[in-house]
Amino acid sequence: MMNTFQFDTTSLLVALPEIFLLSSIVVILLLDLFLTKGFKQVTYYLTQASLLMTGILSYSLIGQPETLIFGDSFVLDDMASVFKVFMMGSAMVAMVYSRHYLTQHDLFRGEYFVLVLLSILGMMVMVSGYSLLTLYLGLEILSLSLYTLIAIARKRSGAIEAALKYFVLGAIASGLLLYGMSMIYGISGSLNISEISAFASDANLASRETLIINFGLVFLVIGIAFKLGAVPFHMWVPDVYQGSPTSVTMFISTIPKIAAVAMLVRLLVDGLGSMHAYWSDLFMILALLSIALGSVVALMQTNIKRMLAYSTISHVGFVMLGFVTGVITGYGAATFYILVYVLMSLAAFGVIILLNKKGFEAEEISDYKGLSKSSPWFALMMLVVMLSMAGVPPFIGFYSKFFILQQVISAGFVTVAIIAVIFAVISAYYYLQIIKSMYFNDAEQELTIAAPMDMKLVLSINATLILVVGLFPDFWMKLALSLF
């Protein structure tokens, strides 16, 4: 069943954000070549401007009826648009934080911003991808840009190691994903998500066909789990987090997770939703292992980036639990969780970057000793972030966990919910370690903050949102639910 490819210029409007971003990337890349050293900031501002514009374009597409273009391989729906708006917003915040880090550590180069924009383009393609090929294409644009981003700090010890590790393991994951896709394509005869869905939900499916779909499904799940960093495919996460420059770590730990969730939704919910009974079992195991390992291993970390890496793993476990439920509200809960996670993670890395100075990276938990004295406001921000990550109300992290737990319990998995909350308590211990360092210990070294005003302001807003959205979570919960 081959779609006839009809090119219609009006269909381009549907992909306008992507087209705009791609054009900006080209312009910025070329322009950067001609900028002399004193004008490098122009690249930064152009990056921010193009992110903002892309965000506005994506926002203007919210509420459009679901449209498929380019031979049904690219979809525009509310999920895609809302995710894109969130990604642009997060990326703008991340760029504000990154600039401070880059200037402090002599990494401020035009390529950095171009690579970030390229990876975002890849994520946008992932979010809107509606055929196996587009999804894979988006994933590769994202991944290759990220590998290079890490390696950009080639003088940093561990950066090359992290980049290589990420590259090799990421390539294997892509390979597995591609293998799974080929199975699905082979049996269904189509790359298109809706056709795959129609094929898989056919009641008269021969057992041989089911078997092959399941076979491919396993590989798809592995590929996705790898990108999300779920146990047992998490090995790369701590090393990459620690080895990468902090601004890149922040980037990797936040926005690509949204794209990975989007890919998950496209492949498993939209495409193979009828096979839910098969993949939800896999997800259950992955989720519980992630929550358990993420919570326990993080206890032993002294490096805050490694700790946050394990914390991410456990958060990803919660997200996957939302998909286990197999109901729309459960997917909504997972979406809500990942967006909340991005907000919290940005703020956490924001504080880490805030304390960065030339020749000093606040990477050890003990570096935070006495922060509440030297800088009570930002210590308070970190306190909010940490408690929120631990799931303490009234911060937003509580409601995301609550939403997931509510869905898990109403799906009948009470035991799973109990296991999850017990590990949540265990994980509270290491979040408390940061609070302990900041509030209960006295400073061993002078902590001064060299960050510019814009970063302080954005970080304050970022952390305050964790509280404010926590007090009024209704709108965001509804928004997340409306995407399915």
């Binding site: 303490v392 109300p393 737990l405 909350v421 308590v425 211990y429 209960f440």
Partner: protein, 510 residues
């Protein structure tokens, strides 16, 4: 905003204001804090004056949609059970702020703000009628306490603060799971709806134990009490006062508001376990208190022992009354409705009285600690020689702690013992031993600290209490005596609610 909302949010926002004043302007921060806390206290009194004690229905109710996705509402209101505890909270907060006046010199504004915010959050706990709102306040109140212990605490404060937090956090997540479970069954997070939700015996048993873990840790009951001595010893005086006077009551309140009405059959089924644990707390922990060398630890253990009366009083009713087949309440072994009411009301009175007495005892230790920076009993001896006025107060509070008639300590314990007598003579006998053991550890401490000759030369140079300390202790002394001599007004306001609760507890949901 109506009255109850103001009581919750005024201290929280006021706390924010105090932080803005900053540690540099400590005096402004102090005066502002005391002004806010007095204002809140005065406002809370009108809860009492305009309270209708003839009904068990919720009063001062406010309801607004909060998280419509799950039908979670900002739903608050008070009845005869929560109203006295709210006033206890507003009362204690004033004392704590005055007690920390010149003692806390490090980060004064933050200290005051933490107590104000905690006040608001705890009032929120006592007035929430929505389970998730309750849970949010319940958990959020841990945060200021964590910081109070961790920042202004003693040498081993980090350990104590984290232990406190994790212990109570672990307890309450089970509460969350069971609340969500009930929502999936009944489709509502309203606590009052949960009271009417029908649950099978197995469900009730699970939910009962989930509640039990959450509330028993807070009370704290044996054997999950081990965080309390650490937290108390390490916390600054104000932290200990709030912890003992109010935070422990959150656990007791939980039994009243959640366990009995929501899981009546499981409460009946496991009442013997709870009573056994309460009696262990009363007797065994009493003996543990006897051997303490650290005054704060002694009072902490004494707190656990006294809180045992609360849980005993709550669960004794199941051995006094039962619901007959015809829907009428019938007695077991000749017990009476009055006996069961005595137990529940005694538990409430005990909570309030313990709020006064434990606050007073910790303040007494605080006064000594501020002067000699030691909590060891052996450091002192003959304090009466240098601090006669102070000793007068200390002895009064010690007597109250030992349950001397005429003080508030006697009323609650006596009511609970009378009730226990109707349940089972042995419960009463064991519980009554506290009158001996309690007297023993308290008076022995008094003897070693206040009487006798001075062995430590530093004691000789002690200054007697100043006006501020005198004021705080006088207020508490009055509270202890008034409550001891004329507890009737307090019992009256709670009577209808307790009566209703008794019916709920005896009505099977099966």
């Amino acid at each position: 905003m109506e009255l109850l909302s103001l009581l919750i949010w005024l201290p929280i926002l006021g706390g924010g204001l105090v932080i803005l004043v900053g540690n540099e302007r400590a005096d402004t921060a102090r005066w502002l804090s005391v002004a806010i806390s007095v204002l809140v206290f005065v406002m809370s009194l009108s809860l009492y004056t305009s309270f209708d004690s003839t009904t068990h229905l919720m009063q001062f109710v406010e309801k607004a949609s909060w998280i419509s996705q799950f039908n979670i509402n900002y739903h608050i209101g008070v009845d005869g059970i929560s109203m006295p505890l709210i006033i206890l909270t507003t009362f204690s907060t004033i004392l704590v702020i005055i007690a920390g006046w010149e003692v806390i010199t490090r980060r004064t504004a933050h200290y005051m703000a933490a107590f104000l915010m905690m006040e608001g959050l705890i009032i929120g706990v006592f007035s929430s009628l929505d389970a998730i709102l309750f849970y949010a306040f319940w958990e959020a109140s841990l945060i200021p306490m964590l910081l109070i212990i961790g920042i202004w605490g003693g040498d081993n404060r980090v350990y104590a603060a984290i232990k406190f937090f994790l212990y109570t956090f672990l307890g309450s997540v089970m509460l969350l799971v069971s609340l969500i479970y009930m929502y999936t069954k009944g489709g509502s997070f309203s606590i009052l709806d949960m009271h009417n939700l029908s649950l099978t015996a197995a469900e009730q048993a699970w939910i009962f134990w989930a509640f039990f873990v959450a509330f028993a840790v807070k009370v704290p009951m044996f054997p999950v009490h081990t965080w309390l001595p650490d937290a108390h010893v390490q916390a600054p005086t104000g932290g200990s006062v709030i912890l003992a006077a109010i935070m422990l009551k959150m656990g007791g309140y939980g039994f009243f508001r959640f366990s009995l009405p929501i899981t009546p059959d499981a409460s009946l089924q496991f009442a013997d376990v709870v009573i056994a644990l309460s009696l262990i707390a009363i007797v065994y922990i009493g003996f543990v208190a006897l051997v303490q060398r650290d005054m704060k630890k002694l009072i902490a253990y004494s707190s656990i022992s006294h809180m045992g009366f609360v849980t005993l009083g709550v669960f004794a009713l199941f051995f006094i009354l039962k619901m007959g087949a015809d829907g009428n309440i019938v007695s077991i072994n000749g017990g009476s409705v009055e006996g069961a009411l005595l137990g529940l009301e005694g538990a409430m009175v005990q909570m309030i009285s313990h709020g006064f007495i434990s606050a007073a005892m910790f303040l007494v230790v605080g006064v000594l600690y501020d002067r000699l920076h030691s909590r060891e009993i052996s450091t002192y001896g003959g304090v009466i020689n240098s601090m006669p006025k102070f000793t007068g107060f200390a002895v009064l509070f010690a007597m109250a702690n030992a349950g001397l008639p005429g003080t508030s300590g006697f009323v609650g314990e006596f009511m609970v013992i009378l009730s226990a007598l109707q349940a089972n003579i042995w419960y009463a006998v064991l519980a009554a031993t506290t009158l001996i053991v309690g007297a023993a550890y308290t008076l022995w401490m008094v003897k070693r600290v206040f009487w006798g000759s001075i062995t430590n030369p530093a004691v000789e140079t002690l200054n007697d209490i100043n006006g501020r300390e005198f004021f705080v202790l006088t207020i508490l002394a009055l509270a202890v005596l008034i409550m001891g001599l004329y507890p009737q007004p307090v019992i009256e306001v709670m009577h209808s609610s307790i009566d209703h609760l008794l019916n709920q507890a005896l009505t099977s949901k099966l």
